[in-house]
Symmetry: C2
Subunit: 332 residues, 2 copies
DNA sequence: CTGAAAGCGCTTACAG
DNA sequence: CTGAAAGCGCTTACAG
């Protein structure tokens, strides 16, 4: 493979100094038009493209941002539309501002260590962290690198870094209140894994809202996947055959619950009302269509990215909470 | 922000030469144990991490692989489980072998140009290309960079680079044959966008299989999204109210078709049989559960990655086709 | 406006 | 086994 042309080669070809070539390449205004022209011609002829590593080394910048997804072993990330949303929205946003995206999936302890090395090695200018697990050591260790980092989602430990999240508490309250307004009496919930802040907040709001009306909580645990929702629903039906409503902490689990209810011969919403959380695309295609809480996921990812950009430029940024919205369809 | 320690600082601290520090860092065996120890101690004390840019510059390697997703404006990628699968499987696989992943979403002409610059700039050692659109100029232009690149999915232009794909033709034939075996007489199809090779191959197999039995084709066009499947189904019902089966070229469109059929009061599979393609997770949760063709998406992504690794090490690699499997559930 | 020179932080022959 | 020196390909003060 032929070696790619360097700045030096371009300078020789154009008959000017390397400094001048560099200035033209970087669009500096202080270059005579005649020089600019010959340089540009030489660049085109040789097919010159600046070497990234050399540039990074001297400028101490990389123009790349890491998206770090702390993926628990069970694989939250795998099939969750959230993952694609975040990656896509963030990466579009970053591209618009001239950044490259480096994606890091950190699952094992081992890979977590590598992320730290990676950030410490100066490979990126900043990072977006997606870590839902409250027990995850990554946020703390990454924050110690001193690099600008923002979190997509509130962190269990406050003060580590700025974050953007949707209003989990408000959304869950809306959901349960909607069920209450419909006259539902035995309202169960399928919670997400309790080491995730989003799951904690949604469960707490469910509990508080019911408590205010003197009703008791009926809780089954899932892990935000469809299958876990189906299983939790089965358990709920065993525990309390009389229940007439379920609030699933996300749409995926609601979809699983819908399947179990169908298999058990319960009609939705006639026998049991079901409400989810997130308003993923699939919620419009379930039978019956899923009533849910819209959490602005794409928007959240965009805001997270913007927050990072702010942090990068001003050095300061404050958390933001995005409002949710009740979307009434057929299931409740 | 304090400047991070350099090799030089470690050498000074340990009282040895930079060469020795470098050797220890890189695990070279030709280092006296005593030196190794003092160096390691100094590294730990100072919290030294090698600078990536400097390393890349001198070694002419980056240890990073780009995953380039050529995302058409309509946003194939957005909500398609395929996207997450590929990114996830490839990135896990690459991490295991010590590579970083750089994710590039190339939609616009503008961003396509930037990808080329990025690759030409020596930022990565190789790339995985996900480009479904047969008219996409990216495969050709990227292949010209001379970098090792493999394609996830067969390319319209042969010979550009090695690829991995599932057996679209075989799978579609299985699907239509299954419908035929059930005694279905008017079998329609919802095709994917015809500039994508997967859609072309699936449609061609549908046509060929029907032609062999003297039946006529009934085709509606979608773009691989749920909504397009719902719309295509509506049109199909208008055009031919007598149809008794539909082969959707992917599961997402089949899910859309299911909704339209439900709204139109058609029972599935009694009135109309529906079969999809891909066997995404959601196919198990539709009502009725979706009969489909399993295309090993995760497997495909893993194989694509391995192919790239082969190419990187041996300089040669040949295309691979993965077999599909009929998964019979309730809808057909 | 232009060029010569220094330097970014590493690795790697080359002597010893 | 160890160290001094050159060099990877750029940018950026500094003179002129």
């Amino acid at each position: 493979m032929m070696r790619r042309p360097t700045l030096h080669a371009v300078a020789a070809r154009a008959g000017v100094s390397k400094s001048s070539v560099s200035r033209v390449i970087n669009g500096e205004p202080t270059v005579a038009p005649s020089i600019r022209e010959t340089v540009l011609a030489a660049v085109a002829e040789l097919g010159y493209v600046p070497n990234g590593a050399a540039r990074n080394l001297v400028t101490q910048r990389t123009n790349t941002i890491a998206i770090i997804v702390s993926d628990p072993p069970q694989g939250l990330v795998s099939d969750d539309p959230m993952f694609a949303m975040v990656v896509r929205a963030a990466s579009r946003e970053l591209e618009r501002t001239g950044f490259q995206v480096s994606l890091v999936l950190a699952g094992s302890d081992d890979s977590r260590r590598r992320v730290e090395q990676y950030l410490a090695g100066g490979h990126v200018d900043g990072a977006i962290l997606v870590s839902m697990d409250g027990a995850d050591p990554l946020p703390a260790s990454l924050s110690r690198t001193g690099l600008p980092i923002v979190s997509h989602g509130r962190l269990a430990t406050p003060g580590l870094m700025p974050w953007v999240d949707n209003d989990n508490q408000g959304g869950a309250t809306q959901a349960v209140q909607h069920l209450l307004d419909q006259g539902r009496r035995r309202i169960a919930t399928i919670s997400g894994p309790l080491d995730m802040t989003a799951a904690q907040e949604r469960l707490a709001a469910y509990r508080d809202t019911l408590k205010d009306t003197g009703r008791r909580s009926i809780v089954a645990l899932g892990d935000f996947t469809r299958i876990s929702g189906a299983e939790a629903m089965r358990q709920l039906l065993d525990d309390d055959p009389q229940l007439d409503a379920v609030f699933a902490a996300n749409d995926l689990m609601a979809i699983g619950a819908l399947r179990t209810l169908r298999e058990a011969g319960r009609r939705v919403p006639d026998d049991v009302a079901v409400i989810g959380f997130d308003d993923i695309e699939a919620a419009r295609y379930t039978a019956p269509a899923l009533t849910t809480i819209r959490s602005p996921m794409t928007d959240q990812a965009v805001r997270t990215t913007q927050l990072l950009l702010d942090l990068l430029s001003t050095g300061a940024a404050t958390p933001v909470v995005l409002p949710t919205e009740l979307i009434v369809r057929e299931s409740a």
